[in-house]
Symmetry: C2
Subunit: 145 residues, 2 copies
């Protein structure tokens, strides 16, 4: 069951766009499926599973290169999963770095907005902070000079 899926129904199942699936094929992440006589793609269950794997990894922030590596590793099930662990840890480190940066941005944005005088542009605190960053207004450390 669920053999011979068209690209459209596969896309609906995976909550992706048709073009994304073709893009993954072009990038070597999805193997080329069977074709009808007229040249249309027909997918098997294995394809659907692979696409689900890719999408879930993408949702977790894995870049396509990392996913490619994970997919290669699953083809060698007897290896140690050290590399898999490594890839996942790299993604986690990346996510944590982004979090730290965004948290500091949030702080500065909130401060900026809180001090907005709601008057005229010429007195606007938001504009002043953006203009005078190097002089005084910026407290956060991660992008000071």
């Amino acid at each position: 069951m669920a053999e011979n899926l068209t690209i459209g129904s596969l896309a609906r199942r995976a909550s992706t766009k048709v073009q994304t699936i073709r893009f993954y094929e072009q990038e070597g992440l999805m193997p080329p499926p069977a074709r009808t006589e007229g040249g249309q793609r027909r997918y098997s269950r294995a394809h659907a599973d692979r696409l689900a794997f890719i999408r879930h990894a993408r949702e977790l922030g894995f870049p396509l290169d990392a996913i490619r590596e994970l997919l290669n590793l699953t083809d060698k099930p007897d290896q140690s999963c050290e590399r898999v662990d490594r890839v996942a840890r790299d993604v986690l480190a990346d996510v944590e770095a982004k979090l730290a940066r965004l948290e500091s941005l949030r702080g500065e944005l909130k401060r900026m907005i809180r001090h907005c005088g709601h008057g005229r542009v010429s007195d606007c605190r938001v504009i002043k902070v953006l203009a005078d960053h190097s002089h005084s207004n910026c407290v956060s450390a991660d992008h000071a000079h």
Copy 2:
């Protein structure tokens, strides 16, 4: 003082690349500067200030379109700064949305890595979670079906 800056020295002051400045000019964010007879750009203090404004806003996560709007608003200093406030709040909302998403990703990645058995790929928990998302392993709500 600080008139007639070359593009290179302006870039050094603003911690940007030369190409980035040319890119901002092309995008209409930086006004075209004076040129020498030979065609090289020479920048004034006003240019340096404007570039600093752009860079600081970028560091805070403002997209170029938003920066364009802010720059237009600073040319009309008598208007209410309501729009400025709005732009800043939009950026903050965007930052907070990204934070929420990354926090949930971090949780799932950590759980995944913690459960990795450090054995063979065929038993790897990380791979299993990525493959079986739809079935059971995923607890987070924001991307469950």
